[in-house]
């Protein structure tokens, strides 16, 4: 599961309100419509310019705030390939796996990566390579059942495929 793309850099505490404002999310669940407003307070051109496979790099506590799943969903809808951050807010982290958006914790990378760099993220191997600078990083390991969920394309797809949730299988 290697993902390669160009970096969009953000700071600490990017809230779910910043990713997709509450004023849009109550009116529709049409993701194309919502995605137009993704990140608009932080980076007004983001939704228009982000390319399929691009990678968001951010500081601490990415996705803090509300439980809105619209946040990882609009980023996935725009084609964001992965998010690498120093840390994630808990619900955003879970939501991302559930909707099939790869998120990776790495404390060192964000300070050593710039806007526009090219990254290659391999979730299974837990490795991240900055192809622009040549520097390699280790990602914080992810439990196996979450990796599987990503590979299945998220929780809905997994249920459709197996007719049950794989976490309940692992607990038997």
């Amino acid at each position: 599961m290697a993902i390669k793309g160009q970096v969009w850099k953000f700071g600490d505490s990017v809230s779910t309100d910043a990713i997709i404002s509450g004023k849009y999310k109550f009116k529709t669940i049409d993701l194309d419509e919502l995605a137009k407003h993704a990140m608009e307070t932080l980076s007004p051109d983001f939704a228009r310019l982000v390319k399929r496979g691009d990678i968001i790099v951010a500081g601490e506590n990415f996705g803090c705030g509300s439980s809105r799943e619209q946040a990882p969903l609009v980023l996935r809808q725009l084609g964001v390939g992965a998010i690498v951050a120093k840390s994630f807010a808990r619900i955003f982290y879970r939501n991302s796996f559930n909707v099939g958006l790869p998120v990776v914790e790495c404390r060192e990378l964000p300070d050593r990566t710039n806007q526009g760099d090219i990254l290659e993220v391999d979730l299974r191997k837990g490795s991240i390579l900055n192809l622009t600078t040549g520097e390699a990083f280790r990602a914080k390991p992810v439990p196996e059942f979450l990796l599987q969920m990503l590979e299945d394309g998220g929780l809905v797809e997994q249920y459709k495929k197996y007719g049950e949730f794989r976490w309940s299988m692992s607990s038997r």
């Binding site: 506590n61 559930n98 949730f165």
Partner: protein
């Protein structure tokens, strides 16, 4: 080795001895979604191809975020929720019943020792009743509606000991703002915040709800308070079921311990635009205010209206300031009416609206314009949370909100209350 309340609850629920870091699958005792999250959950439920929910009596749907609807788009999402509730025999609390986090305990879905999830980050509020409760996303909520189960990582616990007498003019909101300033907006990520000490025992259930409500603002998974007689008293007549009144063992392990002396506390404010940008109100007094909001799942309860009314009785909201009062539930609204609080507040010049989230999620009823300042008793002050990205939100206690409404500027309420 001893266990914390949270470890005991998750251990019993998953049927094994658990320690922090363990991954478990737990049966869910009750779950909830509101109009901001239920529509996506319903869509995920349908996409999964599911036909039936696991147990309709354990699911609650609430229309509170944009209630009543302010646009056709929102109305259509409400219609979707009502239809789903009817199709599956699920109880739906419609416009005007109140905020999900107030309804869940009032209507008997919350009991000590239970495992509760909600598609809303402030689901952590029910820790005030000694329950394990935490926020999840819509797709997971769909998975719970299908299977009645969910995975968790057993959290480490942080202990917050609050001892001593709370000074006059200081409320539970000031305590939690102070703690938030100490721990920081990501200082408790993935963890439990357990509150104890005689000041917490001395608080009402309502005050403890204010504490637990805001633990997610530190990134925590759940907040918890040892359940006691006050919880039993609150639950009387609301449910037939008996909860489990658990205590943390004296030798339970905590990843950190914070000790706060209540005596030294004063009215606090979280300044724009992060929840941990906390200072004593007196340091930032004088900032001009356009809107004051008294309400939300943090501070929209009877006790909060009583505190605000202490200052507003016989006084007026300053001209040029609009003060919105939104009781957290119909029960709170009715009690406030019977006690004459609504009259006091209305005479002071407050506008009182039907129960719900009000301006807190930024969708309707008091959206802020460019350059406007709102003093609010809610829990989040992120850029653009209540409207324009050029507006500012100061988070305070009900007393500070009322004092600021009277003067038209951010004001330390101790000027108005007997010290």
């Amino acid at each position: 080795m001893g266990k914390t309340i949270t470890e005991k609850i998750l251990g019993r629920a998953s049927g094994r001895d658990v320690s922090p870091g363990d991954l478990i699958v737990s049966p869910i005792d009750a779950c909830m979604a509101h109009d901001g999250t239920a529509p996506l959950a319903i869509r995920a439920f349908r996409e999964m191809g599911a036909k039936k929910v696991w147990d309709p009596s354990r699911i609650a749907l609430v229309i509170d975020h944009i209630a009543p609807s302010s646009s056709e788009g929102t109305s259509n999402l409400h219609v979707l929720m009502r239809q789903f509730a009817t199709d599956h025999g699920i109880k739906l609390f419609d416009v005007g019943e109140g905020i999900c986090h107030q309804i869940m305990p009032e209507k008997g879905y919350v009991l000590p020792g239970r495992v509760i999830v909600g598609a809303d980050s402030h689901t952590c509020t029910y820790g005030a009743f000694g329950a394990f409760s935490t926020g999840i996303g819509s797709t997971e909520l769909a998975a719970v509606m299908v299977s009645g189960k969910l995975w968790f990582r057993v959290p480490e616990s942080i202990r917050c000991l609050v001892n001593g007498r709370m000074p006059v003019g200081v409320l539970p909101k000031d305590v939690i703002l102070h703690i938030l300033g100490l721990i920081g907006a990501d200082g408790a990520t993935y963890k439990t915040v357990e509150f104890s000490g005689d000041a917490v025992r001395g608080m009402s259930v309502s005050g403890r709800m204010t504490l637990c409500n805001m633990v997610v603002e530190m990134g925590a998974k759940n907040g918890i308070v040892e359940p006691d007689e006050k919880v039993r008293e609150f639950l009387r007549g609301r449910t037939q079921a008996e909860g489990e009144y658990l205590k943390s063992d004296p030798d339970a392990e905590y990843s950190k311990v914070f000790e706060v002396s209540a005596e030294g506390l004063e009215p606090m404010v979280a300044c724009p635009s992060s929840v941990d940008n906390v200072r004593p109100v007196r340091e930032v007094e004088g900032i001009e205010v356009n809107q004051v909001f008294l309400g939300s799942c943090t501070n929209g309860r009877l006790e909060d209206l009583i505190e605000a009314a202490k200052i507003l009785k016989g006084r007026k909201v300053k001209e040029g300031v609009r003060m919105l009062v939104i009781p957290a539930s119909r029960e709170v609204y009715l009690e406030a009416m019977k006690m004459g609080l609504l009259q006091i507040l209305a005479e002071a010049g407050c506008s009182i609206y039907g129960p719900g989230c009000g301006p807190c999620p930024g969708g309707h009823l008091g959206v802020l314009g460019q350059g406007e300042v709102c003093v609010s008793t809610s829990n989040r002050n992120f850029v653009g949370r209540m409207g324009s990205k050029e507006s500012q939100i100061y988070l305070v206690s009900p007393l500070t909100a009322a004092a600021s409404a009277v003067t038209g500027e951010l004001t330390d309420p101790r000027k108005f209350v007997e010290v």
